[in-house]
Symmetry: C2
Subunit: 198 residues, 2 copies
Protein backbone atom coordinates (compact mmCIF):
# COMPACT_ATOMS: atom_id res chain seq x y z
CA UNK A 1 0.00 0.00 0.00
CA UNK A 2 1.31 3.48 -0.84
CA UNK A 3 2.20 5.70 2.04
CA UNK A 4 -0.80 7.78 2.97
CA UNK A 5 -0.01 11.50 2.78
CA UNK A 6 -2.12 13.82 4.84
CA UNK A 7 -1.92 17.01 2.81
CA UNK A 8 -3.93 19.04 5.29
CA UNK A 9 -1.65 18.01 8.14
CA UNK A 10 1.43 18.88 6.09
CA UNK A 11 0.05 22.30 5.20
CA UNK A 12 -0.69 22.91 8.89
CA UNK A 13 2.89 22.01 9.79
CA UNK A 14 4.03 24.58 7.25
CA UNK A 15 1.69 27.19 8.77
CA UNK A 16 3.14 26.46 12.20
CA UNK A 17 6.66 26.84 10.83
CA UNK A 18 5.67 30.28 9.49
CA UNK A 19 4.37 31.23 12.95
CA UNK A 20 7.58 30.10 14.66
CA UNK A 21 9.81 32.02 12.26
CA UNK A 22 7.55 35.10 12.55
CA UNK A 23 7.72 34.89 16.36
CA UNK A 24 11.51 34.50 16.40
CA UNK A 25 12.68 36.68 13.52
CA UNK A 26 9.65 38.42 12.01
CA UNK A 27 7.53 37.62 8.96
CA UNK A 28 10.13 39.11 6.61
CA UNK A 29 12.37 36.16 7.46
CA UNK A 30 9.68 33.63 6.50
CA UNK A 31 10.89 32.89 2.95
CA UNK A 32 9.80 29.67 1.23
CA UNK A 33 13.34 28.32 1.80
CA UNK A 34 13.45 29.16 5.53
CA UNK A 35 9.98 27.78 6.11
CA UNK A 36 10.84 24.54 4.25
CA UNK A 37 13.87 24.09 6.53
CA UNK A 38 11.87 24.92 9.67
CA UNK A 39 9.03 22.55 8.73
CA UNK A 40 11.45 19.82 7.67
CA UNK A 41 10.06 19.50 4.13
CA UNK A 42 11.69 20.02 0.73
CA UNK A 43 11.52 23.27 -1.26
CA UNK A 44 9.72 21.30 -3.96
CA UNK A 45 7.04 20.28 -1.49
CA UNK A 46 6.53 23.86 -0.28
CA UNK A 47 6.29 25.05 -3.89
CA UNK A 48 3.81 22.27 -4.62
CA UNK A 49 1.49 23.70 -1.96
CA UNK A 50 2.14 27.44 -2.33
CA UNK A 51 2.80 29.42 -5.51
CA UNK A 52 4.50 32.26 -3.60
CA UNK A 53 5.59 33.54 -0.19
CA UNK A 54 2.47 35.75 -0.11
CA UNK A 55 0.22 32.71 -0.61
CA UNK A 56 2.04 30.76 2.11
CA UNK A 57 1.74 33.64 4.57
CA UNK A 58 -1.94 34.08 3.72
CA UNK A 59 -2.48 30.40 4.51
CA UNK A 60 -0.57 30.72 7.80
CA UNK A 61 -2.83 33.64 8.76
CA UNK A 62 -5.97 31.78 7.64
CA UNK A 63 -4.98 28.80 9.75
CA UNK A 64 -4.49 31.01 12.83
CA UNK A 65 -7.90 32.64 12.33
CA UNK A 66 -9.51 29.24 11.72
CA UNK A 67 -8.29 27.98 15.11
CA UNK A 68 -9.59 31.15 16.80
CA UNK A 69 -12.97 30.79 15.07
CA UNK A 70 -13.12 27.16 16.08
CA UNK A 71 -12.49 28.24 19.69
CA UNK A 72 -15.23 30.87 19.43
CA UNK A 73 -17.70 28.37 17.97
CA UNK A 74 -16.95 25.94 20.78
CA UNK A 75 -17.61 28.71 23.29
CA UNK A 76 -20.89 29.58 21.57
CA UNK A 77 -22.17 26.01 21.49
CA UNK A 78 -20.92 24.59 24.80
CA UNK A 79 -22.46 21.15 24.97
CA UNK A 80 -23.49 21.43 28.61
CA UNK A 81 -25.86 24.29 27.82
CA UNK A 82 -24.35 26.57 30.47
CA UNK A 83 -23.23 29.19 27.98
CA UNK A 84 -25.01 32.55 28.04
CA UNK A 85 -24.56 35.51 25.67
CA UNK A 86 -22.44 37.17 28.32
CA UNK A 87 -20.22 34.13 28.91
CA UNK A 88 -19.74 33.66 25.16
CA UNK A 89 -18.76 37.32 24.72
CA UNK A 90 -16.44 37.19 27.70
CA UNK A 91 -14.81 34.06 26.31
CA UNK A 92 -14.37 35.50 22.83
CA UNK A 93 -12.72 38.67 24.17
CA UNK A 94 -10.53 36.73 26.61
CA UNK A 95 -9.43 34.59 23.67
CA UNK A 96 -8.38 37.77 21.81
CA UNK A 97 -6.13 38.95 24.65
CA UNK A 98 -2.56 37.77 25.30
CA UNK A 99 -3.17 36.47 28.83
CA UNK A 100 -0.22 34.09 29.09
CA UNK A 101 3.18 33.62 27.50
CA UNK A 102 1.92 31.26 24.78
CA UNK A 103 -0.86 33.68 23.80
CA UNK A 104 1.69 36.55 23.77
CA UNK A 105 3.70 34.67 21.15
CA UNK A 106 0.54 34.05 19.07
CA UNK A 107 -0.51 37.69 19.43
CA UNK A 108 2.91 38.85 18.26
CA UNK A 109 2.47 36.76 15.11
CA UNK A 110 -1.06 38.12 14.60
CA UNK A 111 0.28 41.70 14.88
CA UNK A 112 2.92 40.81 12.28
CA UNK A 113 0.13 39.63 9.93
CA UNK A 114 -1.75 42.89 10.56
CA UNK A 115 1.37 44.91 9.86
CA UNK A 116 2.05 43.03 6.61
CA UNK A 117 -1.57 43.47 5.52
CA UNK A 118 -1.09 47.20 4.95
CA UNK A 119 1.02 46.22 1.90
CA UNK A 120 -0.63 42.90 0.91
CA UNK A 121 -4.15 43.31 -0.49
CA UNK A 122 -5.16 39.66 -0.34
CA UNK A 123 -4.05 39.36 3.28
CA UNK A 124 -5.88 42.60 4.13
CA UNK A 125 -9.07 41.31 2.45
CA UNK A 126 -8.86 38.08 4.45
CA UNK A 127 -8.32 39.94 7.74
CA UNK A 128 -11.29 42.20 7.02
CA UNK A 129 -13.48 39.14 6.48
CA UNK A 130 -12.18 37.59 9.72
CA UNK A 131 -12.96 40.77 11.66
CA UNK A 132 -16.39 40.98 10.10
CA UNK A 133 -16.96 37.41 11.29
CA UNK A 134 -15.96 38.30 14.86
CA UNK A 135 -18.16 41.38 14.83
CA UNK A 136 -21.11 39.36 13.46
CA UNK A 137 -20.69 36.83 16.26
CA UNK A 138 -20.74 39.66 18.83
CA UNK A 139 -23.82 41.24 17.21
CA UNK A 140 -25.55 37.85 17.30
CA UNK A 141 -24.85 37.38 21.01
CA UNK A 142 -26.00 40.93 21.82
CA UNK A 143 -29.25 40.33 19.89
CA UNK A 144 -29.75 37.04 21.74
CA UNK A 145 -29.27 38.91 25.03
CA UNK A 146 -31.83 41.52 23.93
CA UNK A 147 -34.31 38.77 23.02
CA UNK A 148 -33.76 37.28 26.49
CA UNK A 149 -34.30 40.68 28.11
CA UNK A 150 -30.75 40.59 29.49
CA UNK A 151 -29.75 43.86 27.86
CA UNK A 152 -31.80 46.93 27.05
CA UNK A 153 -33.70 47.07 23.76
CA UNK A 154 -32.23 50.58 23.37
CA UNK A 155 -28.72 49.20 22.84
CA UNK A 156 -27.67 49.24 19.16
CA UNK A 157 -26.01 45.82 18.73
CA UNK A 158 -23.95 46.80 15.64
CA UNK A 159 -22.55 49.91 17.28
CA UNK A 160 -21.76 48.15 20.56
CA UNK A 161 -20.17 45.24 18.70
CA UNK A 162 -17.85 47.62 16.83
CA UNK A 163 -16.85 49.24 20.12
CA UNK A 164 -16.39 45.94 22.00
CA UNK A 165 -14.25 44.33 19.29
CA UNK A 166 -12.10 47.47 18.98
CA UNK A 167 -11.79 47.64 22.77
CA UNK A 168 -10.37 44.12 22.85
CA UNK A 169 -8.04 44.82 19.92
CA UNK A 170 -6.81 48.01 21.60
CA UNK A 171 -6.21 46.22 24.89
CA UNK A 172 -3.98 43.78 22.98
CA UNK A 173 -1.48 46.59 22.25
CA UNK A 174 -1.58 47.83 25.86
CA UNK A 175 -0.94 44.31 27.16
CA UNK A 176 1.89 43.65 24.70
CA UNK A 177 3.92 46.59 26.06
CA UNK A 178 2.94 45.90 29.66
CA UNK A 179 0.80 49.02 30.10
CA UNK A 180 -1.96 47.01 31.75
CA UNK A 181 -1.85 43.78 33.67
CA UNK A 182 -3.98 40.85 32.54
CA UNK A 183 -6.35 41.62 35.45
CA UNK A 184 -6.74 45.27 34.42
CA UNK A 185 -7.45 44.32 30.81
CA UNK A 186 -10.08 41.76 31.82
CA UNK A 187 -11.60 44.30 34.23
CA UNK A 188 -11.96 46.75 31.31
CA UNK A 189 -13.82 44.08 29.30
CA UNK A 190 -15.96 43.10 32.28
CA UNK A 191 -16.73 46.76 32.97
CA UNK A 192 -18.23 47.17 29.51
CA UNK A 193 -20.16 43.89 29.82
CA UNK A 194 -21.44 45.01 33.26
CA UNK A 195 -22.65 48.22 31.68
CA UNK A 196 -24.50 46.37 28.92
CA UNK A 197 -25.87 43.54 31.05
CA UNK A 198 -26.70 45.83 33.99
Amino acid sequence: MPKRVDHEERRQKIAEAVWRIAADRGLEAASLREVAAEAGVSMGRIQHYFASKDRMILFACEHMVELAEQGARELATAADGTETPRSVLRGVFAQTLPLDEQQRVGTGVWLAFLNRATGDHELAAFIRRAWTGTRDLVVEQLRRAQDNGEISAEVAPEQEATALVALADGLVSHLMVGHYTVEEALAAVDGQLDRLFG
Copy 2:
Protein backbone atom coordinates in the same frame (compact mmCIF):
# COMPACT_ATOMS: atom_id res chain seq x y z
CA MET B 1 30.53 85.24 15.14
CA PRO B 2 30.47 81.43 15.29
CA LYS B 3 27.76 79.70 13.38
CA ARG B 4 24.79 79.16 15.62
CA VAL B 5 23.88 75.49 15.82
CA ASP B 6 20.36 74.63 16.81
CA HIS B 7 20.87 71.25 18.44
CA GLU B 8 17.19 70.72 19.09
CA GLU B 9 16.32 71.38 15.46
CA ARG B 10 19.04 68.99 14.30
CA ARG B 11 17.82 66.25 16.61
CA GLN B 12 14.31 66.76 15.28
CA LYS B 13 15.56 66.40 11.72
CA ILE B 14 17.15 63.11 12.76
CA ALA B 15 13.86 61.97 14.34
CA GLU B 16 12.03 62.80 11.12
CA ALA B 17 14.61 60.83 9.12
CA VAL B 18 13.93 57.82 11.39
CA TRP B 19 10.18 58.19 10.72
CA ARG B 20 10.69 58.36 6.94
CA ILE B 21 12.90 55.26 6.89
CA ALA B 22 10.48 53.41 9.18
CA ALA B 23 7.57 54.34 6.89
CA ASP B 24 9.40 53.26 3.73
CA ARG B 25 11.42 50.26 4.85
CA GLY B 26 10.60 49.50 8.50
CA LEU B 27 12.40 50.41 11.73
CA GLU B 28 14.89 47.57 11.26
CA ALA B 29 16.36 49.56 8.36
CA ALA B 30 16.87 52.66 10.54
CA SER B 31 20.56 52.11 11.37
CA LEU B 32 22.68 55.06 12.53
CA ARG B 33 24.34 55.06 9.09
CA GLU B 34 21.08 55.04 7.10
CA VAL B 35 19.56 57.73 9.27
CA ALA B 36 22.66 59.92 8.93
CA ALA B 37 22.39 59.66 5.14
CA GLU B 38 18.64 60.34 5.17
CA ALA B 39 19.01 63.35 7.50
CA GLY B 40 22.00 64.68 5.57
CA VAL B 41 24.32 64.73 8.59
CA SER B 42 27.60 62.92 9.27
CA MET B 43 27.89 59.66 11.18
CA GLY B 44 30.00 61.55 13.72
CA ARG B 45 27.16 64.00 14.30
CA ILE B 46 24.61 61.22 14.80
CA GLN B 47 26.95 59.49 17.23
CA HIS B 48 27.46 62.78 19.04
CA TYR B 49 23.72 62.92 19.73
CA PHE B 50 22.89 59.24 20.19
CA ALA B 51 24.99 56.53 21.82
CA SER B 52 23.16 53.73 20.01
CA LYS B 53 20.42 52.89 17.51
CA ASP B 54 18.10 52.11 20.44
CA ARG B 55 18.62 55.60 21.89
CA MET B 56 18.02 57.23 18.51
CA ILE B 57 14.80 55.27 18.00
CA LEU B 58 13.65 56.10 21.52
CA PHE B 59 14.17 59.78 20.75
CA ALA B 60 12.27 59.46 17.44
CA CYS B 61 9.36 57.89 19.35
CA GLU B 62 9.54 60.53 22.10
CA HIS B 63 9.43 63.28 19.50
CA MET B 64 6.34 61.75 17.87
CA VAL B 65 4.56 61.49 21.23
CA GLU B 66 5.61 65.03 22.13
CA LEU B 67 3.93 66.41 19.01
CA ALA B 68 0.76 64.42 19.78
CA GLU B 69 0.76 65.66 23.39
CA GLN B 70 1.24 69.20 22.19
CA GLY B 71 -1.78 68.75 19.89
CA ALA B 72 -3.81 67.37 22.79
CA ARG B 73 -2.81 70.27 25.07
CA GLU B 74 -3.81 72.77 22.39
CA LEU B 75 -7.18 71.05 22.10
CA ALA B 76 -7.63 71.16 25.87
CA THR B 77 -6.79 74.84 26.19
CA ALA B 78 -8.36 76.35 23.05
CA ALA B 79 -7.93 80.07 23.47
CA ASP B 80 -11.43 80.96 22.33
CA GLY B 81 -12.97 79.12 25.29
CA THR B 82 -15.27 77.02 23.08
CA GLU B 83 -13.73 73.74 24.12
CA THR B 84 -15.85 71.40 26.22
CA PRO B 85 -14.86 68.07 27.81
CA ARG B 86 -16.66 66.33 24.98
CA SER B 87 -14.96 68.32 22.23
CA VAL B 88 -11.56 67.79 23.84
CA LEU B 89 -12.14 64.02 24.06
CA ARG B 90 -13.44 63.87 20.50
CA GLY B 91 -10.38 65.78 19.30
CA VAL B 92 -7.93 63.58 21.20
CA PHE B 93 -9.45 60.37 19.80
CA ALA B 94 -9.69 61.81 16.26
CA GLN B 95 -6.01 62.71 16.55
CA THR B 96 -5.25 59.06 17.42
CA LEU B 97 -6.95 57.72 14.29
CA PRO B 98 -5.39 57.56 10.81
CA LEU B 99 -8.02 59.71 9.07
CA ASP B 100 -5.98 60.79 6.05
CA GLU B 101 -2.96 59.59 4.10
CA GLN B 102 -0.46 61.62 6.13
CA GLN B 103 -1.86 60.28 9.41
CA ARG B 104 -1.77 56.74 7.99
CA VAL B 105 1.97 57.10 7.44
CA GLY B 106 2.44 58.40 10.99
CA THR B 107 0.28 55.62 12.41
CA GLY B 108 2.35 53.02 10.55
CA VAL B 109 5.47 54.39 12.21
CA TRP B 110 3.75 54.42 15.62
CA LEU B 111 2.77 50.75 15.15
CA ALA B 112 6.41 49.99 14.27
CA PHE B 113 7.47 51.61 17.57
CA LEU B 114 4.87 49.52 19.42
CA ASN B 115 6.10 46.37 17.73
CA ARG B 116 9.73 47.12 18.58
CA ALA B 117 8.79 47.88 22.21
CA THR B 118 8.06 44.21 22.92
CA GLY B 119 11.84 43.66 22.71
CA ASP B 120 13.15 47.07 23.88
CA HIS B 121 12.53 47.75 27.59
CA GLU B 122 13.33 51.47 27.54
CA LEU B 123 11.03 52.06 24.56
CA ALA B 124 8.28 50.02 26.26
CA ALA B 125 8.67 52.05 29.48
CA PHE B 126 8.38 55.28 27.51
CA ILE B 127 5.27 54.11 25.64
CA ARG B 128 3.64 53.04 28.92
CA ARG B 129 4.24 56.52 30.33
CA ALA B 130 2.83 58.10 27.15
CA TRP B 131 -0.31 55.95 27.36
CA THR B 132 -0.70 56.74 31.05
CA GLY B 133 -0.55 60.43 30.09
CA THR B 134 -3.32 60.00 27.49
CA ARG B 135 -5.45 58.06 29.93
CA ASP B 136 -4.93 60.72 32.64
CA LEU B 137 -6.04 63.42 30.21
CA VAL B 138 -9.20 61.43 29.42
CA VAL B 139 -9.90 60.84 33.13
CA GLU B 140 -9.48 64.58 33.76
CA GLN B 141 -11.97 65.51 31.02
CA LEU B 142 -14.49 62.92 32.25
CA ARG B 143 -14.20 64.31 35.81
CA ARG B 144 -14.63 67.83 34.48
CA ALA B 145 -17.78 66.66 32.67
CA GLN B 146 -19.05 65.06 35.88
CA ASP B 147 -18.42 68.29 37.81
CA ASN B 148 -20.40 70.15 35.12
CA GLY B 149 -23.22 67.63 35.38
CA GLU B 150 -22.70 66.63 31.73
CA ILE B 151 -22.15 62.98 32.53
CA SER B 152 -23.60 60.84 35.27
CA ALA B 153 -21.90 60.72 38.66
CA GLU B 154 -22.24 56.94 38.42
CA VAL B 155 -19.70 56.71 35.61
CA ALA B 156 -16.28 55.50 36.82
CA PRO B 157 -13.86 57.86 35.00
CA GLU B 158 -10.83 55.55 35.27
CA GLN B 159 -12.68 52.55 33.88
CA GLU B 160 -14.29 54.53 31.06
CA ALA B 161 -10.96 56.15 30.21
CA THR B 162 -9.30 52.74 29.88
CA ALA B 163 -12.10 51.59 27.59
CA LEU B 164 -12.16 54.77 25.48
CA VAL B 165 -8.39 54.84 24.93
CA ALA B 166 -8.35 51.13 24.04
CA LEU B 167 -11.32 51.65 21.70
CA ALA B 168 -9.40 54.32 19.77
CA ASP B 169 -6.25 52.16 19.69
CA GLY B 170 -8.25 49.18 18.44
CA LEU B 171 -9.95 51.26 15.73
CA VAL B 172 -6.47 52.19 14.50
CA SER B 173 -5.81 48.57 13.47
CA HIS B 174 -9.23 48.24 11.81
CA LEU B 175 -8.65 51.44 9.84
CA MET B 176 -5.13 50.43 8.79
CA VAL B 177 -6.40 47.31 7.02
CA GLY B 178 -9.48 49.07 5.65
CA HIS B 179 -12.01 47.17 7.79
CA TYR B 180 -13.83 50.38 8.68
CA THR B 181 -14.09 53.66 6.84
CA VAL B 182 -13.05 56.87 8.57
CA GLU B 183 -16.76 57.69 9.02
CA GLU B 184 -17.49 54.33 10.67
CA ALA B 185 -14.56 54.70 13.06
CA LEU B 186 -15.59 58.21 14.07
CA ALA B 187 -19.19 57.02 14.50
CA ALA B 188 -17.93 54.35 16.92
CA VAL B 189 -16.15 57.02 18.97
CA ASP B 190 -19.14 59.35 18.83
CA GLY B 191 -21.45 56.50 19.83
CA GLN B 192 -19.50 55.97 23.04
CA LEU B 193 -19.39 59.72 23.73
CA ASP B 194 -23.17 59.93 23.09
CA ARG B 195 -23.67 57.17 25.61
CA LEU B 196 -21.57 58.94 28.25
CA PHE B 197 -22.83 62.48 27.56
CA GLY B 198 -26.45 61.34 27.05
